[in-house]
Symmetry: C2
Subunit: 276 residues, 2 copies
Protein backbone atom coordinates (compact mmCIF):
# COMPACT_ATOMS: atom_id res chain seq x y z
CA UNK A 1 0.00 0.00 0.00
CA UNK A 2 3.00 2.32 -0.19
CA UNK A 3 3.23 5.07 -2.73
CA UNK A 4 6.93 4.55 -2.86
CA UNK A 5 7.62 6.97 -5.68
CA UNK A 6 6.11 9.97 -3.95
CA UNK A 7 6.96 9.80 -0.30
CA UNK A 8 10.03 9.31 1.90
CA UNK A 9 10.61 5.85 3.30
CA UNK A 10 12.30 6.95 6.52
CA UNK A 11 11.66 9.69 9.05
CA UNK A 12 13.13 12.99 7.89
CA UNK A 13 14.87 13.99 11.11
CA UNK A 14 15.16 17.71 11.74
CA UNK A 15 18.74 19.07 11.55
CA UNK A 16 18.74 20.15 15.19
CA UNK A 17 18.99 16.47 16.08
CA UNK A 18 17.17 14.82 18.96
CA UNK A 19 13.75 16.42 18.98
CA UNK A 20 12.68 15.84 22.53
CA UNK A 21 14.09 14.68 25.83
CA UNK A 22 16.61 11.90 26.02
CA UNK A 23 15.96 9.10 23.57
CA UNK A 24 16.27 5.88 25.56
CA UNK A 25 19.03 3.46 24.76
CA UNK A 26 17.47 0.29 23.39
CA UNK A 27 19.01 -2.85 24.76
CA UNK A 28 17.52 -6.15 23.70
CA UNK A 29 19.48 -8.61 25.78
CA UNK A 30 20.69 -11.64 23.87
CA UNK A 31 17.98 -11.49 21.24
CA UNK A 32 15.28 -11.81 23.87
CA UNK A 33 12.06 -13.11 22.34
CA UNK A 34 9.14 -10.78 21.75
CA UNK A 35 5.61 -11.46 20.60
CA UNK A 36 5.19 -11.31 16.85
CA UNK A 37 3.14 -8.52 15.30
CA UNK A 38 0.37 -11.08 14.75
CA UNK A 39 0.47 -12.07 18.43
CA UNK A 40 0.51 -8.44 19.54
CA UNK A 41 -2.47 -7.73 17.29
CA UNK A 42 -4.47 -10.76 18.43
CA UNK A 43 -3.78 -9.90 22.07
CA UNK A 44 -4.72 -6.25 21.74
CA UNK A 45 -7.93 -6.98 19.84
CA UNK A 46 -8.90 -9.66 22.37
CA UNK A 47 -8.61 -7.16 25.24
CA UNK A 48 -11.42 -4.87 24.08
CA UNK A 49 -14.94 -5.00 22.68
CA UNK A 50 -15.11 -1.54 21.13
CA UNK A 51 -13.31 -0.09 18.15
CA UNK A 52 -13.51 2.60 15.53
CA UNK A 53 -15.01 1.39 12.29
CA UNK A 54 -14.12 3.05 8.99
CA UNK A 55 -16.66 2.61 6.22
CA UNK A 56 -17.36 4.45 2.97
CA UNK A 57 -20.38 6.77 2.81
CA UNK A 58 -22.57 7.11 -0.24
CA UNK A 59 -20.56 10.03 -1.60
CA UNK A 60 -17.34 8.03 -1.32
CA UNK A 61 -16.06 9.81 1.77
CA UNK A 62 -14.70 7.80 4.71
CA UNK A 63 -16.84 7.52 7.82
CA UNK A 64 -15.45 6.83 11.29
CA UNK A 65 -17.86 5.52 13.92
CA UNK A 66 -17.86 3.63 17.19
CA UNK A 67 -18.69 -0.07 17.01
CA UNK A 68 -18.85 -2.91 19.49
CA UNK A 69 -17.41 -6.22 18.34
CA UNK A 70 -17.16 -9.82 19.42
CA UNK A 71 -14.51 -12.21 18.16
CA UNK A 72 -14.74 -15.56 16.45
CA UNK A 73 -12.19 -18.07 17.78
CA UNK A 74 -9.78 -17.09 14.98
CA UNK A 75 -9.94 -13.40 15.90
CA UNK A 76 -12.37 -12.38 13.14
CA UNK A 77 -14.45 -9.45 14.44
CA UNK A 78 -18.22 -9.73 14.45
CA UNK A 79 -20.24 -6.52 14.27
CA UNK A 80 -23.95 -5.92 14.72
CA UNK A 81 -24.98 -2.69 13.02
CA UNK A 82 -28.25 -0.89 12.42
CA UNK A 83 -29.21 0.55 9.07
CA UNK A 84 -30.47 3.52 11.06
CA UNK A 85 -26.78 4.31 11.54
CA UNK A 86 -24.60 5.53 8.70
CA UNK A 87 -22.04 2.73 9.12
CA UNK A 88 -24.75 0.09 8.80
CA UNK A 89 -26.08 1.57 5.57
CA UNK A 90 -22.54 2.01 4.27
CA UNK A 91 -21.65 -1.67 4.59
CA UNK A 92 -24.68 -2.75 2.58
CA UNK A 93 -23.40 -0.60 -0.27
CA UNK A 94 -19.61 -1.02 0.10
CA UNK A 95 -18.43 -3.95 2.21
CA UNK A 96 -14.83 -2.82 2.51
CA UNK A 97 -14.12 -1.64 6.05
CA UNK A 98 -11.44 -1.41 8.68
CA UNK A 99 -11.58 -1.57 12.45
CA UNK A 100 -9.17 0.26 14.73
CA UNK A 101 -8.74 -1.13 18.22
CA UNK A 102 -6.60 0.84 20.64
CA UNK A 103 -5.24 -0.07 24.04
CA UNK A 104 -6.08 2.36 26.82
CA UNK A 105 -3.78 5.35 26.90
CA UNK A 106 -0.91 5.09 29.32
CA UNK A 107 1.56 7.72 30.35
CA UNK A 108 2.01 11.19 29.03
CA UNK A 109 2.14 10.52 25.33
CA UNK A 110 -1.16 9.74 23.64
CA UNK A 111 0.64 8.21 20.64
CA UNK A 112 2.58 5.69 22.71
CA UNK A 113 -0.38 3.36 23.15
CA UNK A 114 -0.72 0.14 21.20
CA UNK A 115 -3.26 -0.11 18.39
CA UNK A 116 -4.25 -2.37 15.55
CA UNK A 117 -6.06 -1.74 12.29
CA UNK A 118 -7.84 -4.78 10.85
CA UNK A 119 -8.76 -4.09 7.23
CA UNK A 120 -10.88 -6.26 4.99
CA UNK A 121 -14.37 -6.88 3.79
CA UNK A 122 -17.58 -7.20 5.76
CA UNK A 123 -19.74 -10.22 5.02
CA UNK A 124 -23.14 -11.35 6.22
CA UNK A 125 -22.47 -14.75 7.81
CA UNK A 126 -24.73 -17.69 6.91
CA UNK A 127 -25.46 -21.11 8.36
CA UNK A 128 -23.02 -22.35 11.00
CA UNK A 129 -20.93 -19.23 10.66
CA UNK A 130 -23.99 -17.15 11.50
CA UNK A 131 -24.52 -19.15 14.68
CA UNK A 132 -20.86 -18.74 15.61
CA UNK A 133 -21.10 -15.03 14.87
CA UNK A 134 -24.19 -14.66 17.05
CA UNK A 135 -22.40 -16.30 19.95
CA UNK A 136 -19.22 -14.28 19.42
CA UNK A 137 -21.07 -10.99 19.31
CA UNK A 138 -23.23 -11.90 22.31
CA UNK A 139 -20.12 -12.52 24.38
CA UNK A 140 -18.97 -8.92 23.91
CA UNK A 141 -21.45 -7.47 26.40
CA UNK A 142 -24.44 -8.57 28.46
CA UNK A 143 -26.50 -6.24 26.30
CA UNK A 144 -25.15 -7.40 22.95
CA UNK A 145 -27.68 -10.10 22.21
CA UNK A 146 -30.50 -7.57 22.58
CA UNK A 147 -29.25 -5.71 19.51
CA UNK A 148 -29.29 -8.87 17.44
CA UNK A 149 -33.05 -9.11 17.90
CA UNK A 150 -33.89 -5.75 16.40
CA UNK A 151 -34.92 -5.99 12.78
CA UNK A 152 -32.81 -3.03 11.70
CA UNK A 153 -29.58 -4.63 12.96
CA UNK A 154 -27.50 -7.03 10.91
CA UNK A 155 -24.59 -9.24 11.92
CA UNK A 156 -21.39 -8.85 9.92
CA UNK A 157 -18.05 -10.58 10.04
CA UNK A 158 -15.05 -8.51 9.08
CA UNK A 159 -13.08 -10.84 6.82
CA UNK A 160 -9.58 -9.59 7.43
CA UNK A 161 -7.20 -9.01 4.53
CA UNK A 162 -4.41 -7.01 6.14
CA UNK A 163 -3.36 -6.08 9.66
CA UNK A 164 -1.35 -3.10 10.86
CA UNK A 165 -0.04 -3.21 14.40
CA UNK A 166 1.60 -0.24 16.12
CA UNK A 167 3.06 -0.89 19.57
CA UNK A 168 4.32 2.64 20.20
CA UNK A 169 7.55 4.31 19.11
CA UNK A 170 9.56 2.27 16.68
CA UNK A 171 7.51 -0.86 17.25
CA UNK A 172 5.12 -1.50 14.40
CA UNK A 173 4.63 -3.97 11.62
CA UNK A 174 2.26 -5.32 9.03
CA UNK A 175 1.06 -8.85 9.27
CA UNK A 176 -1.13 -10.94 7.03
CA UNK A 177 -4.56 -12.30 7.74
CA UNK A 178 -3.42 -15.92 8.03
CA UNK A 179 -0.73 -15.09 10.60
CA UNK A 180 -3.24 -13.03 12.56
CA UNK A 181 -5.81 -15.83 12.58
CA UNK A 182 -3.24 -18.45 13.61
CA UNK A 183 -1.68 -16.38 16.41
CA UNK A 184 -2.79 -16.85 20.00
CA UNK A 185 -3.75 -13.92 22.19
CA UNK A 186 -1.33 -13.62 25.09
CA UNK A 187 -2.62 -15.95 27.82
CA UNK A 188 -1.34 -13.68 30.58
CA UNK A 189 -2.50 -10.37 29.11
CA UNK A 190 -5.18 -9.94 31.75
CA UNK A 191 -2.64 -10.39 34.54
CA UNK A 192 0.17 -8.31 33.06
CA UNK A 193 -0.62 -4.89 34.47
CA UNK A 194 -1.12 -6.20 38.00
CA UNK A 195 2.00 -8.35 37.79
CA UNK A 196 4.11 -5.42 36.62
CA UNK A 197 2.77 -3.23 39.41
CA UNK A 198 3.52 -5.96 41.95
CA UNK A 199 7.09 -6.33 40.69
CA UNK A 200 7.63 -2.58 40.84
CA UNK A 201 6.19 -2.21 44.31
CA UNK A 202 7.60 -5.25 46.04
CA UNK A 203 10.54 -6.54 44.01
CA UNK A 204 12.52 -3.52 42.84
CA UNK A 205 15.78 -5.17 43.93
CA UNK A 206 15.09 -8.28 41.88
CA UNK A 207 14.24 -6.14 38.84
CA UNK A 208 17.48 -4.22 39.25
CA UNK A 209 19.48 -7.46 39.46
CA UNK A 210 17.69 -8.74 36.34
CA UNK A 211 18.43 -5.52 34.51
CA UNK A 212 22.10 -5.55 35.51
CA UNK A 213 22.89 -9.20 34.86
CA UNK A 214 20.38 -10.28 32.20
CA UNK A 215 19.30 -6.95 30.75
CA UNK A 216 22.63 -5.83 29.41
CA UNK A 217 22.99 -2.84 31.74
CA UNK A 218 25.53 -3.60 34.49
CA UNK A 219 25.60 0.11 35.30
CA UNK A 220 21.87 0.28 36.06
CA UNK A 221 20.97 1.96 39.35
CA UNK A 222 17.19 1.58 39.17
CA UNK A 223 14.81 -0.65 37.26
CA UNK A 224 11.08 -0.53 36.49
CA UNK A 225 9.02 -3.17 34.76
CA UNK A 226 7.09 -1.42 32.00
CA UNK A 227 5.30 -4.47 30.70
CA UNK A 228 5.37 -8.22 30.44
CA UNK A 229 3.94 -10.91 28.24
CA UNK A 230 4.24 -14.65 27.66
CA UNK A 231 7.84 -14.27 26.45
CA UNK A 232 9.46 -11.86 28.88
CA UNK A 233 9.76 -8.49 30.59
CA UNK A 234 10.26 -4.94 29.33
CA UNK A 235 12.48 -3.00 31.72
CA UNK A 236 13.19 0.70 32.00
CA UNK A 237 16.65 1.14 33.47
CA UNK A 238 18.37 4.20 34.82
CA UNK A 239 22.04 3.91 33.95
CA UNK A 240 25.11 6.12 34.00
CA UNK A 241 24.65 6.43 30.21
CA UNK A 242 21.06 7.60 30.50
CA UNK A 243 17.72 5.82 30.40
CA UNK A 244 17.72 2.41 28.75
CA UNK A 245 14.88 0.12 27.84
CA UNK A 246 15.75 -3.54 27.87
CA UNK A 247 13.96 -6.69 26.96
CA UNK A 248 14.64 -9.79 29.07
CA UNK A 249 13.20 -13.11 27.98
CA UNK A 250 11.80 -15.83 30.22
CA UNK A 251 13.45 -19.25 30.13
CA UNK A 252 10.07 -20.74 29.13
CA UNK A 253 6.88 -19.73 27.38
CA UNK A 254 4.42 -18.70 30.07
CA UNK A 255 0.84 -19.88 29.72
CA UNK A 256 -0.84 -18.81 32.96
CA UNK A 257 -0.53 -16.64 36.06
CA UNK A 258 1.26 -19.24 38.24
CA UNK A 259 3.68 -19.84 35.37
CA UNK A 260 4.32 -16.12 35.15
CA UNK A 261 5.26 -16.01 38.82
CA UNK A 262 7.54 -19.03 38.44
CA UNK A 263 9.24 -17.60 35.37
CA UNK A 264 9.83 -14.26 37.06
CA UNK A 265 11.27 -15.94 40.15
CA UNK A 266 13.57 -17.97 37.90
CA UNK A 267 14.82 -14.77 36.26
CA UNK A 268 15.51 -13.19 39.63
CA UNK A 269 17.41 -16.27 40.81
CA UNK A 270 19.48 -16.41 37.66
CA UNK A 271 20.28 -12.73 38.00
CA UNK A 272 21.30 -13.06 41.64
CA UNK A 273 23.45 -16.10 40.85
CA UNK A 274 25.15 -14.01 38.18
CA UNK A 275 25.75 -11.20 40.64
CA UNK A 276 27.10 -13.46 43.38
CA UNK B 1 -27.00 10.75 3.78
CA UNK B 2 -29.93 8.42 4.32
CA UNK B 3 -30.85 5.81 1.76
CA UNK B 4 -34.46 6.30 2.64
CA UNK B 5 -35.85 4.04 0.00
CA UNK B 6 -33.94 0.98 1.13
CA UNK B 7 -33.79 0.99 4.88
CA UNK B 8 -36.17 1.36 7.81
CA UNK B 9 -36.33 4.74 9.48
CA UNK B 10 -37.12 3.50 12.96
CA UNK B 11 -35.85 0.65 15.11
CA UNK B 12 -37.58 -2.60 14.23
CA UNK B 13 -38.43 -3.76 17.74
CA UNK B 14 -38.56 -7.52 18.24
CA UNK B 15 -42.05 -8.89 18.94
CA UNK B 16 -41.08 -10.19 22.37
CA UNK B 17 -41.10 -6.57 23.53
CA UNK B 18 -38.59 -5.01 25.86
CA UNK B 19 -35.29 -6.64 24.97
CA UNK B 20 -33.35 -6.15 28.16
CA UNK B 21 -33.87 -5.10 31.75
CA UNK B 22 -36.26 -2.34 32.70
CA UNK B 23 -36.24 0.58 30.33
CA UNK B 24 -36.00 3.71 32.49
CA UNK B 25 -38.83 6.16 32.55
CA UNK B 26 -37.67 9.40 30.97
CA UNK B 27 -38.77 12.49 32.84
CA UNK B 28 -37.57 15.84 31.57
CA UNK B 29 -38.93 18.20 34.18
CA UNK B 30 -40.58 21.30 32.77
CA UNK B 31 -38.62 21.27 29.52
CA UNK B 32 -35.34 21.49 31.37
CA UNK B 33 -32.60 22.86 29.13
CA UNK B 34 -29.97 20.57 27.67
CA UNK B 35 -26.86 21.31 25.69
CA UNK B 36 -27.41 21.34 21.95
CA UNK B 37 -25.86 18.65 19.80
CA UNK B 38 -23.32 21.23 18.67
CA UNK B 39 -22.45 22.04 22.28
CA UNK B 40 -22.21 18.36 23.19
CA UNK B 41 -19.95 17.77 20.22
CA UNK B 42 -17.68 20.75 20.95
CA UNK B 43 -17.41 19.71 24.60
CA UNK B 44 -16.61 16.10 23.87
CA UNK B 45 -14.01 16.94 21.22
CA UNK B 46 -12.39 19.49 23.54
CA UNK B 47 -11.94 16.86 26.26
CA UNK B 48 -9.54 14.63 24.31
CA UNK B 49 -6.51 14.87 22.04
CA UNK B 50 -6.78 11.47 20.34
CA UNK B 51 -9.30 10.17 17.86
CA UNK B 52 -9.81 7.60 15.15
CA UNK B 53 -9.20 8.98 11.69
CA UNK B 54 -10.93 7.47 8.68
CA UNK B 55 -9.20 8.06 5.36
CA UNK B 56 -9.38 6.39 1.96
CA UNK B 57 -6.52 4.10 0.91
CA UNK B 58 -5.21 3.91 -2.62
CA UNK B 59 -7.53 1.05 -3.56
CA UNK B 60 -10.57 3.01 -2.34
CA UNK B 61 -10.99 1.08 0.89
CA UNK B 62 -11.52 2.94 4.17
CA UNK B 63 -8.63 3.08 6.62
CA UNK B 64 -9.07 3.60 10.38
CA UNK B 65 -6.05 4.79 12.34
CA UNK B 66 -5.19 6.53 15.58
CA UNK B 67 -4.40 10.23 15.36
CA UNK B 68 -3.58 12.96 17.85
CA UNK B 69 -5.24 16.31 17.28
CA UNK B 70 -5.19 19.84 18.55
CA UNK B 71 -8.05 22.28 18.14
CA UNK B 72 -8.26 25.72 16.59
CA UNK B 73 -10.36 28.15 18.65
CA UNK B 74 -13.43 27.28 16.53
CA UNK B 75 -13.05 23.54 17.20
CA UNK B 76 -11.44 22.67 13.87
CA UNK B 77 -9.10 19.69 14.44
CA UNK B 78 -5.47 20.00 13.49
CA UNK B 79 -3.58 16.81 12.64
CA UNK B 80 0.11 16.21 12.08
CA UNK B 81 0.66 13.08 10.01
CA UNK B 82 3.64 11.35 8.50
CA UNK B 83 3.66 10.06 4.95
CA UNK B 84 5.39 7.00 6.40
CA UNK B 85 1.95 6.16 7.76
CA UNK B 86 -0.91 5.08 5.54
CA UNK B 87 -3.26 7.83 6.76
CA UNK B 88 -0.70 10.51 5.87
CA UNK B 89 -0.28 9.19 2.34
CA UNK B 90 -4.02 8.78 1.99
CA UNK B 91 -4.78 12.44 2.70
CA UNK B 92 -2.38 13.62 0.03
CA UNK B 93 -4.37 11.61 -2.50
CA UNK B 94 -7.91 11.99 -1.14
CA UNK B 95 -8.50 14.81 1.35
CA UNK B 96 -11.91 13.65 2.53
CA UNK B 97 -11.67 12.29 6.07
CA UNK B 98 -13.58 11.93 9.28
CA UNK B 99 -12.45 11.91 12.89
CA UNK B 100 -14.20 9.95 15.62
CA UNK B 101 -13.70 11.17 19.18
CA UNK B 102 -15.16 9.07 21.98
CA UNK B 103 -15.57 9.82 25.66
CA UNK B 104 -14.05 7.26 28.00
CA UNK B 105 -16.28 4.25 28.53
CA UNK B 106 -18.42 4.39 31.62
CA UNK B 107 -20.58 1.73 33.11
CA UNK B 108 -21.36 -1.70 31.82
CA UNK B 109 -22.44 -0.88 28.30
CA UNK B 110 -19.69 0.01 25.85
CA UNK B 111 -22.18 1.66 23.50
CA UNK B 112 -23.50 4.07 26.12
CA UNK B 113 -20.51 6.41 25.89
CA UNK B 114 -20.68 9.70 24.07
CA UNK B 115 -18.96 10.12 20.72
CA UNK B 116 -18.72 12.50 17.82
CA UNK B 117 -17.81 12.05 14.18
CA UNK B 118 -16.45 15.15 12.47
CA UNK B 119 -16.51 14.65 8.71
CA UNK B 120 -15.04 16.94 6.11
CA UNK B 121 -11.98 17.65 4.06
CA UNK B 122 -8.36 17.89 5.14
CA UNK B 123 -6.45 20.95 4.02
CA UNK B 124 -2.84 22.06 4.32
CA UNK B 125 -3.05 25.36 6.20
CA UNK B 126 -1.09 28.35 4.89
CA UNK B 127 0.02 31.70 6.27
CA UNK B 128 -1.64 32.79 9.50
CA UNK B 129 -3.78 29.68 9.57
CA UNK B 130 -0.61 27.58 9.48
CA UNK B 131 0.74 29.43 12.51
CA UNK B 132 -2.54 28.95 14.34
CA UNK B 133 -2.54 25.27 13.37
CA UNK B 134 1.01 24.82 14.66
CA UNK B 135 0.06 26.31 17.99
CA UNK B 136 -3.15 24.31 18.23
CA UNK B 137 -1.42 21.03 17.49
CA UNK B 138 1.46 21.81 19.86
CA UNK B 139 -1.01 22.31 22.69
CA UNK B 140 -2.26 18.73 22.36
CA UNK B 141 0.75 17.18 24.06
CA UNK B 142 4.18 18.19 25.33
CA UNK B 143 5.62 15.98 22.59
CA UNK B 144 3.44 17.29 19.77
CA UNK B 145 5.71 20.04 18.53
CA UNK B 146 8.50 17.51 18.03
CA UNK B 147 6.49 15.80 15.31
CA UNK B 148 6.00 19.04 13.44
CA UNK B 149 9.77 19.29 12.93
CA UNK B 150 10.15 16.00 11.09
CA UNK B 151 10.20 16.44 7.34
CA UNK B 152 7.85 13.53 6.71
CA UNK B 153 5.08 15.04 8.84
CA UNK B 154 2.55 17.54 7.52
CA UNK B 155 0.02 19.67 9.36
CA UNK B 156 -3.58 19.36 8.24
CA UNK B 157 -6.77 21.07 9.31
CA UNK B 158 -9.93 19.01 9.06
CA UNK B 159 -12.41 21.43 7.51
CA UNK B 160 -15.64 20.14 8.94
CA UNK B 161 -18.71 19.69 6.75
CA UNK B 162 -21.00 17.60 8.93
CA UNK B 163 -21.09 16.49 12.55
CA UNK B 164 -22.73 13.45 14.09
CA UNK B 165 -23.06 13.38 17.85
CA UNK B 166 -24.23 10.33 19.80
CA UNK B 167 -24.73 10.80 23.53
CA UNK B 168 -25.83 7.25 24.31
CA UNK B 169 -29.22 5.62 24.02
CA UNK B 170 -31.79 7.76 22.30
CA UNK B 171 -29.65 10.89 22.46
CA UNK B 172 -28.08 11.66 19.12
CA UNK B 173 -28.30 14.24 16.42
CA UNK B 174 -26.68 15.73 13.37
CA UNK B 175 -25.42 19.25 13.45
CA UNK B 176 -23.89 21.46 10.82
CA UNK B 177 -20.38 22.81 10.68
CA UNK B 178 -21.39 26.40 11.41
CA UNK B 179 -23.32 25.43 14.57
CA UNK B 180 -20.39 23.30 15.70
CA UNK B 181 -17.90 26.11 15.19
CA UNK B 182 -20.08 28.66 16.97
CA UNK B 183 -20.87 26.45 19.97
CA UNK B 184 -18.85 26.76 23.18
CA UNK B 185 -17.38 23.74 24.91
CA UNK B 186 -18.96 23.30 28.32
CA UNK B 187 -16.98 25.51 30.72
CA UNK B 188 -17.52 23.11 33.62
CA UNK B 189 -16.81 19.88 31.75
CA UNK B 190 -13.54 19.34 33.57
CA UNK B 191 -15.26 19.66 36.95
CA UNK B 192 -18.38 17.65 36.16
CA UNK B 193 -17.25 14.15 37.17
CA UNK B 194 -15.85 15.31 40.49
CA UNK B 195 -18.89 17.47 41.22
CA UNK B 196 -21.27 14.58 40.51
CA UNK B 197 -19.27 12.27 42.76
CA UNK B 198 -19.31 14.88 45.51
CA UNK B 199 -23.08 15.30 45.24
CA UNK B 200 -23.59 11.55 45.35
CA UNK B 201 -21.30 11.02 48.31
CA UNK B 202 -22.19 13.98 50.50
CA UNK B 203 -25.55 15.35 49.33
CA UNK B 204 -27.79 12.38 48.60
CA UNK B 205 -30.64 13.97 50.58
CA UNK B 206 -30.47 17.16 48.54
CA UNK B 207 -30.47 15.17 45.30
CA UNK B 208 -33.50 13.22 46.45
CA UNK B 209 -35.35 16.43 47.31
CA UNK B 210 -34.42 17.86 43.90
CA UNK B 211 -35.64 14.71 42.19
CA UNK B 212 -38.93 14.70 44.10
CA UNK B 213 -39.83 18.36 43.82
CA UNK B 214 -38.09 19.57 40.67
CA UNK B 215 -37.46 16.32 38.84
CA UNK B 216 -41.04 15.25 38.37
CA UNK B 217 -40.80 12.15 40.58
CA UNK B 218 -42.53 12.78 43.93
CA UNK B 219 -42.42 9.03 44.56
CA UNK B 220 -38.62 8.85 44.33
CA UNK B 221 -36.89 7.03 47.18
CA UNK B 222 -33.29 7.43 46.04
CA UNK B 223 -31.45 9.75 43.67
CA UNK B 224 -28.07 9.68 41.95
CA UNK B 225 -26.50 12.40 39.86
CA UNK B 226 -25.37 10.78 36.63
CA UNK B 227 -23.97 13.89 35.05
CA UNK B 228 -24.06 17.64 34.97
CA UNK B 229 -23.25 20.44 32.61
CA UNK B 230 -23.67 24.20 32.29
CA UNK B 231 -27.46 23.85 32.02
CA UNK B 232 -28.41 21.32 34.68
CA UNK B 233 -28.27 17.89 36.27
CA UNK B 234 -29.11 14.40 35.03
CA UNK B 235 -30.64 12.35 37.83
CA UNK B 236 -31.28 8.64 38.14
CA UNK B 237 -34.25 8.12 40.43
CA UNK B 238 -35.59 4.99 42.05
CA UNK B 239 -39.36 5.32 42.17
CA UNK B 240 -42.33 3.12 42.91
CA UNK B 241 -42.86 2.96 39.14
CA UNK B 242 -39.33 1.81 38.44
CA UNK B 243 -36.12 3.57 37.54
CA UNK B 244 -36.50 7.05 36.10
CA UNK B 245 -33.99 9.40 34.58
CA UNK B 246 -34.80 13.03 35.00
CA UNK B 247 -33.27 16.25 33.79
CA UNK B 248 -33.36 19.25 36.13
CA UNK B 249 -32.24 22.62 34.84
CA UNK B 250 -30.29 25.24 36.77
CA UNK B 251 -31.87 28.65 37.26
CA UNK B 252 -28.87 30.18 35.49
CA UNK B 253 -26.26 29.27 32.93
CA UNK B 254 -23.19 28.13 34.84
CA UNK B 255 -19.81 29.34 33.63
CA UNK B 256 -17.34 28.14 36.26
CA UNK B 257 -16.85 25.84 39.25
CA UNK B 258 -18.01 28.33 41.92
CA UNK B 259 -21.08 29.05 39.80
CA UNK B 260 -21.79 25.33 39.60
CA UNK B 261 -21.73 25.06 43.37
CA UNK B 262 -24.01 28.09 43.75
CA UNK B 263 -26.47 26.79 41.15
CA UNK B 264 -26.63 23.37 42.80
CA UNK B 265 -27.19 24.91 46.22
CA UNK B 266 -29.96 27.04 44.72
CA UNK B 267 -31.64 23.91 43.33
CA UNK B 268 -31.44 22.17 46.70
CA UNK B 269 -32.94 25.19 48.46
CA UNK B 270 -35.76 25.47 45.95
CA UNK B 271 -36.48 21.76 46.34
CA UNK B 272 -36.51 21.93 50.15
CA UNK B 273 -38.77 24.99 50.06
CA UNK B 274 -41.11 22.99 47.86
CA UNK B 275 -41.07 20.09 50.29
CA UNK B 276 -41.64 22.25 53.38
Amino acid sequence: MSDSSEFPTEHLVPPEAVPYGAVPLLVDARGAPRPSAAEEARTLVSRSVVGALATVSDDGSPWASLAMYGLLPDGTPVLCLSTLAEHGRNLHREPRASLLVAAPESGRDPLACGRVTLAGRAERPRGERLEAARAAHASASPLASAYQRFGDFSLWTLEIERVRWVGGYGRMDWTDAESYRRAEPDPIAEHAARAAAHLNEDHADALLAIGRVLGGCPDAVAATCEGLDRYGLDLRLETSRGIATSRVGFDRRVVDAPGLRDATVALARAARAGLG
